[in-house]
């Protein structure tokens, strides 16, 4: 009758599965100690093997900076294209024989059109000067006897005039004018640029996924080697009562550090490259729009970069632990 409440097979052994210490504060301290130990021991391991750590981190940083570098490059081009998108400007290249006086008169008639917001005449001389500055053929142009450039009239339709069909009709009207040799809507090549940008963005996504997978597997392999080197330690720790979490933790933190430092290094690589590219890009953009500023990795993007690389590091090591550590038993 003594064992009345001890149903055979049902009794749960009373081995504690909690961290040592009775009260909550003790448990909290133990938990904190365990994490601090894992955090610093993993950092210590990284420093102890600084040569191979540095190589791994460099490889990862290059992969991550490739992905984020292309991302920021496309973001810049995107911004550039975005600025252009707003202009539905039409350029009218006048026939060579049209004089400036006649061009101005023609411009005035266009101004009468209620659909038109602004008209600007670019004289042959202005066009030539601009061409000399930006084309790089300055001296060659000087050698020309006669200015080969036509007068150009830049027509800016009212912003309300977004409808493509209306714009097309307007363009056709201009094309039929006797003064006009050739009329072109800037929109068309902006559109082309837009589709190029779509392809580029898609490319960045694919590249990022591939490189991300690369980062994942490089981290996993690094942790696998680490695990292999520390086989004895793992076995001994298990023999003296280490839980699986205790064994896992330093490796997970190790993966975190590798990912995190790679992210930091990648940030520096990308920022350096953008600093180098800043001038050429801004010169290029100056041709179209003065309001353009080169984009660097902003706060959110930097945060995302660091978080993603750290997470890849942790996940990479988790995969290895999940598949390899099970096999590692004492003896």
């Amino acid at each position: 009758m003594k064992q009345v409440n001890k149903k055979p097979g049902k009794q749960e052994p009373r081995w504690q599965t909690k961290i040592s210490g009775g009260n909550f504060v003790d448990k909290f301290h133990a938990y904190r100690n365990l994490h601090a130990h894992a955090l610093f021991s993993s950092l210590g391991r990284l420093v102890a093997s600084r040569f191979s750590s540095a190589m791994t981190i460099t490889v990862l940083a290059i992969a991550i900076s490739l992905a984020s570098g292309f991302y920021i490059l496309v973001a810049n081009l995107q911004q550039l294209a975005g600025n252009l998108e707003a202009s539905n400007q039409i350029s009218l290249f006048l026939k060579d024989e049209i004089s400036e006086a006649r061009a101005n008169k023609f411009a005035n008639t266009i101004r009468q059109n209620p659909d038109i917001q602004d008209v600007k005449v670019i004289t042959k001389e202005q066009a030539l000067a601009e061409f000399q500055t930006y084309s790089g053929f300055g001296d060659a142009v000087k050698a020309l006897e006669k200015n080969p450039l036509p007068v150009v009239i830049q027509v800016l339709p009212k912003n309300s005039l977004k409808n493509e069909l209306v714009l097309e009709t307007l363009l056709d009207d201009f094309k039929r004018s006797t003064e006009v040799d050739f009329a072109q809507m800037d929109m068309q090549w902006v559109k082309r640029l837009q589709s190029i940008m779509d392809v580029a963005r898609c490319g960045v996504t694919i590249l990022s996924l591939l490189l991300g997978a690369g980062v994942l597997f490089i981290t996993a392999n690094t942790i696998r080697l680490e695990l292999h080197n520390r086989r004895d330690e793992v076995v001994i720790a298990k023999l003296v009562g280490a839980t699986n979490s205790f064994i896992h933790r330093p490796f997970l933190y190790g993966g975190f550090w590798i990912g995190f430092f790679s992210g930091v290094a990648a940030w520096f690589i990308v920022t350096t490259i953008m600093l180098i590219l800043k001038q050429p890009i801004e010169r290029l953009s100056g041709l179209y729009d003065d309001g353009f500023h080169v984009l660097f990795l902003g706060f959110t993007e930097t945060l995302a970069l660091l978080v993603i690389s750290s997470v890849l590091g942790v996940v990479g090591s988790w995969i290895v632990l999940h598949f390899q550590l099970r096999q590692l038993k004492p003896e």
Binding site: S20, H29, A30, N33, A237, K238, V240, G241
Partner: protein
């Protein structure tokens, strides 16, 4: 404290390594486990640390059936059993201090507590002052003392040693055995596997003798 109840053990592919082994170690008792090589001594000790599980019968530690312990409970069982090995199983790239501290770090003790307990434990085995040394520069006897310090640092109620003096000369072996007696005197239960008959005979303790997996004397 420790009770074997009709325990049989068979490795897959091998025959019965232990057959109907029954004995009971009282709290604070010290016993030797002897027998020829291959008699099953190591296997018996592995059952206590749940490195292996028996195929029949029950192993009871503190009244709890080890066979029913879940995998996640095993680490906490091992913390109650101080394990000592013939080859010491020390981490060669860690100092004596770090080696002894391992069970405490695993249990989540803070820095000061670890420091205090490691020193106390090293003091007991007579190695105070060697904390910063690496195992490789120590003699075999000293390395085994580090192993013992690590086993007792967490104050487990049971110490289990598998051929702890197997690599030591007779004089050092006797010293190590006396060290175990000191732990017994403060109430620790101790089970030592050894085939060093002459050494065991000198000491006045209970002897469990295994022969081809069967307990022939206890």
């Amino acid at each position: 404290m420790l009770k074997f109840d009709n325990v049989s053990m068979r490795y897959p592919g091998a025959g019965d390594v232990l057959r109907n082994v029954s004995f009971h170690l009282e709290r604070g008792e010290m016993a030797f486990l002897t027998g020829h090589s291959g008699a099953g001594k190591s296997t018996l000790l592995k059952l206590i640390a749940v490195i292996e599980r028996c195929t029949r019968g029950r192993v009871l530690l503190d009244g709890e059936n080890l066979n029913q312990a879940k995998d996640r409970q095993v680490p906490y069982i091992r913390r109650k059993v101080g394990l000592i090995f013939q080859d010491y199983k020390l981490l060669q790239d860690r100092t004596v201090f770090d080696n002894v501290a391992l069970p405490l770090v695993i249990a989540g003790y803070g820095h000061h507590e670890v420091s205090r307990r490691v020193r106390a434990s090293l003091d007991k085995v007579g190695l105070l002052g060697k904390e910063k040394k690496y195992p490789l520069v120590l003699s075999g006897g000293e390395q085994q003392r580090v192993g013992i310090a690590r086993a007792v640092v967490n104050k487990p109620p049971l110490i289990v040693a598998d051929e702890p003096t197997g690599n030591l000369d007779p004089e050092l072996s006797a010293e190590i055995m006396h060290l175990f007696e000191q732990f017994q005197q403060v109430g620790v239960t101790i089970l030592i596997a050894s085939h060093d008959i002459s050494l065991i005979a000198q000491m006045n303790h209970r002897i469990l003798k295994l022969d081809h997996g069967q307990l022939v004397a206890s």
